[in-house]
């Protein structure tokens, strides 16, 4: 039975959101709550000498918390223990928190923060990641013997080199970071409610901060106004701060960042430099690849090792090649720590390989589409880690779909500039493409180690409640879970409710990241629902009546299942060999741009994309993920600038931190391809991150097509395009 999967149910969270009734963290009424904030470093690196209190402020009006007031470890719990909750002796980035303050109202908080001045002796700051030497993590992937190939290439083979760079990017969830914390209750339980992707991460961080068992920290997600990775790890920081203040104040404390603070201090996308050496036969066959990946991790480790891992695992692109060497490093600098952002390293390396493919095509006088299709991974091929692709490979299907929609395969790429019709005089038009894949779910044995759990439980009224730690952050978790549960239970969607993610009430399903919620958590949900449906039986009557009868007869109405990897997956983390991901989503983009020859502003007028998602559980939501992700990629490609001066983020308000508006967004032409994945629910695989990967290389290829200059850096701002044009004039 499949009535809900593949349909458009309408969002269960929709009515509250359109009426303004949905409660976000800033909306939550909390009697007696104070406001919290932080005193932060204003320099990138320095020794903390003291913090001066300006005279004249009545300190009895506020509470102040310092590093010595952390009851547990002064460590921001994540992969490494290198980041303190509050810096004590050394600050390593602008915006690093030193002291916390809570006050009964915002004007008093502002006055108190202004009356606290950190005296910090500057130390030399590392602000250029390309020359930074402190390595946070390294990754190596080896396949075949590329060294031998490069040393003695076969006759007719040519070597291509390219260096490709991408700058940082701000997630810009429209709701800033925030949470409310309560002081420990009679049981000693600390409660936090807030805006977040991963309540169980926050719980773990609170347990470490307070030196308590995880069960003594209760974390509840509120309606969350966007995340895109930006609310993966950082809400743990806000939660620890608020909870420490609540403990000191003996009352609830709310911290909601204003946009300025959010832009200045929260993690952003890792800047990258990727160098490619590619040996190519005359017919375009990729013979050997050598890829060097460098990421700027910023001041602390945060999630950088995992971001680097995903960057490297996508660095050779969706292409067959027998001889591959990939070397990755993420280095420490004194920038604000880099962190999770949709795509998680893959957009950076996807950009590099795709532009490298364009360079190769142009030099060999091959069509960029033909070169990609010739080398595309197919069913039965092996990836750079030696993973043999056994099923659900939509590579050729997505390529052929965008060709059919756009004629990109017949487009004369980098022909003399095409002037657009006279109404738009002074503009030139270009087309560019990209081809990409994205591993769905955690890398390697990640899902096996995590053992995500989901429960389905019957409520007294006979409805079935989905209990999972996965969060609704706009992407549609609630709707997708409702559809999966309804079809797996054989009931109406109205018979299904999805529980609020509350660590005291739902099992740990793993974080809401890595395009894993639908595919991995959804598959556990489907199997739990099928067991429950089998228990209560398919006798006559509607679902709720049968469920109530089952409960009345003393039946167990709760089924909890644990994720089990599909049989046959093998991964060796030490050698980076084996099945890097359970499966991959596949996609191809074609971008059409118009470039104003006076201002060099780039207008992306159409983006055509074909995306293999396995099965679209809710096609409208899938399309929303695709167009939303693609617009973030298009913004990163040309207008979303994030830069820093002396380690301070320059785009520290929305007047200067630019993201696309309705006027900047292209028309989207989306084709959903469904190559079912046997172990996903109803064949579904991940879709959340994939659309972020291909927009930037397609847009820069289209700019190159229009202007004839090789755009090699994201974002391709007018200033950078002008420099490329001037360089061409000087050298021609």
């Amino acid at each position: 039975m499949s009535a809900c999967v593949g349909s458009d149910l309408g969002r269960p969270d929709g009515p509250a959101k359109v009426s303004g009734r949905a409660v976000y963290v800033a909306d939550l009424a909390v009697a007696g709550a104070w406001h919290g904030g932080a005193v932060r470093s204003t320099i990138a690196h320095g020794r903390v000498l003291r913090i001066e209190r300006k005279p004249g402020f009545d300190w009895r009006r506020v509470v102040v918390v310092g590093p010595g007031d952390v009851p547990g470890d002064n460590v921001q719990e994540l992969l490494s223990d290198d980041q303190p909750i509050l810096a004590e002796r050394v600050v390593r980035h602008v915006g690093e928190p030193l002291l916390l303050v809570a006050a009964p109202d915002l004007p008093t908080l502002e006055a108190a923060l202004a009356a606290l001045r950190p005296i910090v002796e500057p130390l030399p700051a590392e602000l250029d990641f390309e020359s930074a030497t402190r390595v946070l993590h390294e990754v190596s992937i080896d396949k075949g013997d590329p060294g031998a190939r490069f040393d003695s290439p076969p006759p007719g083979a040519r070597l291509f080199e390219g260096t490709w760079r991408t700058d940082s990017q701000e997630q810009l969830y429209v709701e800033p970071q925030g949470c409310v914390a309560w002081p420990a209750d009679a049981d000693g339980t600390v409660v936090v409610r807030g805006s977040m992707q991963c309540p169980h991460y926050v719980r773990k961080a609170l347990a470490r901060c307070f030196g308590i068992a995880p069960e003594r920290a209760r974390v509840v997600q509120l309606t969350t106004g966007g995340g895109f990775g930006g609310k993966e790890e950082y809400p743990s920081v806000v939660a620890c701060h608020a909870a420490l203040l609540a403990r000191a104040a003996g009352r609830p404390v709310r911290i909601v960042y204003d946009r300025h603070e959010d832009l200045l201090v929260t993690p952003k996308r890792h800047p990258s430099r990727v160098h490619h050496r590619t040996l190519v036969a005359a017919d375009g066959t990729l013979l050997a690849m050598d890829v060097d990946v460098l990421l700027d991790g910023g001041a602390y480790t945060t999630l950088s090792p995992v971001v680097l891992s995903r960057a490297c695992l996508h660095a050779s692109g969706p292409y067959r090649c027998e001889h591959v060497a990939i070397r990755g490093r993420v280095v420490a600098t004194n920038h604000v720590p880099s962190g999770a952002f949709r795509g998680f390293g893959a957009p950076q390396t996807c950009f590099a390989i795709e532009r490298q493919m364009d360079r190769i095509a142009r030099a060999l006088d091959l069509h960029p589409f033909a070169l990609r299709r010739h080398n595309a991974l197919r069913l039965g091929d092996a990836t750079a880690t030696g993973q043999v692709l056994h099923d659900s490979v939509g590579s050729l299907a997505v390529l052929d779909a965008v060709a059919a929609r756009t004629g990109i395969d017949r487009h004369r790429w980098c022909a003399p500039a095409m002037a657009v019709p006279s109404s738009n005089s002074g503009r030139v038009r270009g087309l560019g493409m990209s081809f990409f894949f994205h591993g769905a779910g955690f890398t390697g044995s990640g899902e096996e180690l995590l053992k995500g759990r989901v429960a389905i439980r019957l409520l007294p009224d006979g409805r079935a409640e989905v209990a999972a730690g996965s969060t609704e952050i706009g992407q549609g978790t609630t709707t997708v879970f409702t559809a999966i549960a309804a079809d797996a239970l054989g009931c109406d969607p109205g018979d299904v409710v999805v529980a609020v993610p509350d660590t005291a009430a739902v099992p740990d399903s793993g974080p809401t990241v890595a395009s894993r919620t639908c595919m991995v958590v959804g598959s556990v949900l489907a199997s739990a629902c099928r067991e429950l449906a089998a228990r209560i039986g398919g006798a006559a009557g509607d679902f709720r009546s049968r469920a109530r009868a089952w409960l009345a007869a003393g039946g167990d109405g709760i089924v909890e299942h644990v994720y089990g990897s599909p049989p046959g997956l093998v991964w060796d983390q030490a050698t980076y060999r084996g099945d890097a991901y359970p499966c991959y989503g596949w996609a191809a983009d074609v971008a059409e741009v118009e470039v104003d020859l006076d201002t060099l502003e780039v207008d992306v007028v159409r983006l055509t994309t074909a995306v293999d998602v396995g099965k679209a559980i809710q096609p409208r939501l899938v399309e929303g993920q695709i167009t939303g992700g693609a617009l973030q990629a298009i913004g990163w490609a040309q207008c979303e600038v994030v830069s820093s001066r002396d380690g301070r983020v320059q785009q520290d308000r929305l007047a200067t931190c630019i993201v696309p508006t309705t006027k900047d967004a292209p028309r989207f032409d989306v084709t959903i391809v469904e190559q079912p994945y046997a172990h996903g629910p109803f064949g579904a695989k991940g879709v959340g991150e994939l659309p972020m990967d291909g927009g930037a290389p397609a847009v820069l290829a289209a700019i190159e097509d229009a202007l004839g200059v090789p755009a090699d850096r994201v974002p391709a701002t007018p200033e950078r395009l002008l420099a490329l044009l001037e360089q061409r004039e000087r050298t021609s």
Binding site: P107, R620, I626, L631, L654
Partner: protein, 166 residues
């Protein structure tokens, strides 16, 4: 920064809020956004940036879409303020649900208010609502989730639902 706006002594404010008379005391430069959210508990109007760039705090003042984070309370003296909690947004709300224009929802109330102001301005000015007009009207409302296609479609559906020829 709140402090500088709230230093002056409160004044008596009288205005119409969602069709009903409203009286309260507020510092004259207190942001309309804070009056609505904190003094009156109307939290459907959101704050995304505090400087008039994101549009999440869009409300109607005498029928025009304005940004409540930029409007001092004293400016609504004697005027009519309509927020998402007010009546009459049903066509826009339904259009946003039907078109898939809602994801995380934080921009949605502002989008819906701005859409209604646009549809009503089309009627008033005798302009046929079209995609370009919708994109112009909503250019001050940021959404980071959808890519805007579904939002523009929602605006056009709302115009159609209000009987505007599209």
């Amino acid at each position: 920064m709140r402090g500088p706006f709230e230093a002056a002594p409160p004044i008596e404010l009288t205005f119409t809020l969602n069709g009903r008379p409203q009286q309260l005391q507020a510092p004259p430069l207190r942001r309309l956004l804070d009056v609505l959210r904190e003094d009156l508990g109307l939290t459907g109007t959101k704050e995304g940036c505090g400087e008039g760039e994101c549009g999440a705090c869009t409300v109607l003042v005498d029928g025009a879409a304005v940004l409540a984070c930029l409007v001092p309370a004293c400016q609504v003296q004697g005027r009519s303020v309509v927020t998402i909690e007010g009546a009459g947004f049903e066509p826009e709300q339904q259009a946003f649900l039907d078109a898939g224009g809602v994801q995380c929802g934080i921009c949605t109330p502002g989008m819906i208010v701005a859409t209604r102001a646009w549809v009503e301005s089309c009627r008033r000015d005798g302009v046929t609502p079209d995609e370009r007009g919708a994109r112009d009207a909503l250019a001050g409302n940021l959404c980071r989730c959808t890519g805007y296609g579904a939002i523009v479609e929602a605006a056009l559906r709302a115009a159609a639902a209000r009987g505007e020829p599209t």
